[in-house]
């Protein structure tokens, strides 16, 4: 049941990406191209996507978190990190460069797998490799120094 629900949740998310136009990298890049504002080539749509998504999530999260627990788990799993460290600057900085190069972020890239042909598949494969690399590096750093030198 929980598996089926998560499929439906993904389906709603993907439908939102397609309806909003965010599954089209050209639309994303035309939003990021703020230098095109004077010439009229700028596409402000992404700001409306963010506004719609944040507004619904802002209200919805508050309603849901009033409950004692989620439907399929014993407790909510909310992020607990508060610190503004180097990773919260460096990671998004690197992510933004990649996003600006091709116009794909993770959600739209996965949604494009079914319709975007080989280009989407190449991007997703590279993205998963980058994710694996980041997880590996984070693991290395979190190991105690002695454990590293013994290996």
């Amino acid at each position: 049941m929980v598996i089926l629900v998560q499929f439906l949740v993904g389906l709603v998310f993907g439908t939102g990406l397609v309806v909003s136009g965010m599954s089209n990298p050209a639309k994303v890049l035309n939003f990021l191209d703020v230098a095109a504002i004077p010439s009229g080539g700028w596409d402000a749509s992404l700001a409306f996507v963010m506004a719609g998504a944040i507004a619904v999530a802002f209200v919805g999260f508050r309603l849901v978190l009033r409950r004692a627990r989620p439907v399929f788990d014993t407790a909510f799993h909310l992020p607990t990190a508060r610190e503004i460290d180097s990773r919260i600057i460096l990671g998004p900085a690197i992510f933004g460069i990649g996003w600006g190069l091709a116009g794909f972020c993770p959600g739209p890239a996965l949604t494009a797998l079914g319709t975007g042909g080989g280009a989407a598949a190449i991007f997703v494969a590279a993205m998963l490799a980058g994710m694996a690399g980041a997880r590996w590096l984070a693991n290395q750093r979190s190991l105690p120094r002695s454990a590293n030198s013994r290996a």
């Binding site: 949740v9 439908t15 397609v18 998504a53 507004a55 503004i84 690197i94 992510f95 933004g96």
Partner: protein, 142 residues
């Protein structure tokens, strides 16, 4: 570059669906709908037994445009201008950066901002800035 038309209503509606999906996931599993977190945890090592649910979520993402094509008979507009080499570089950066920073446009940009998280606000401002700078360099300087 491919011209696209400004679609305020469709984008607002699509955005609302994305927000609704995030609320549904929170209500069902108690977790943040961060696509980079969900996708990266499809890869080993596995810290919990949530693999099946995460795979189902990603399959839902992939199925969405196909379902829309079946229902409406129209193929969603999609223009991918980047060539294979650029797609590889961009994919590596997006994958690495989103995991290193614990989130992407969905986890930080939507869920984090909706939760008024200071970390997500910093992350969103940083990736918006570097993405805009990257497009400026590639479209207007190179």
């Amino acid at each position: 570059m491919a011209l696209t038309t400004f679609t305020p209503l469709a984008s607002l509606l699509g955005g609302a669906l994305i927000g609704l999906s995030a609320v549904m996931l929170m209500a069902a599993t108690g977790r943040i709908a961060g696509i980079s977190g969900i996708a990266s945890r499809l890869l080993p090592p596995y810290g919990d037994n949530g693999f099946g649910g995460r795979l189902a979520f990603v399959l839902g993402l992939v199925a969405a445009p196909l379902a829309i094509m079946l229902l409406t008979g129209t193929v969603p507009a999609q223009v991918i201008e980047a060539g294979p080499a650029l797609l590889v570089v961009a994919g590596l950066l997006v994958g690495f950066g989103s995991v290193w920073g614990n989130g992407c446009t969905s986890g930080h940009g939507v869920c984090g901002l909706a939760r008024l998280s200071p970390r997500s606000l910093v992350a969103t401002l940083v990736f918006m800035t570097t993405a805009i700078a990257t497009v400026f360099v590639t479209r207007h300087l190179l």
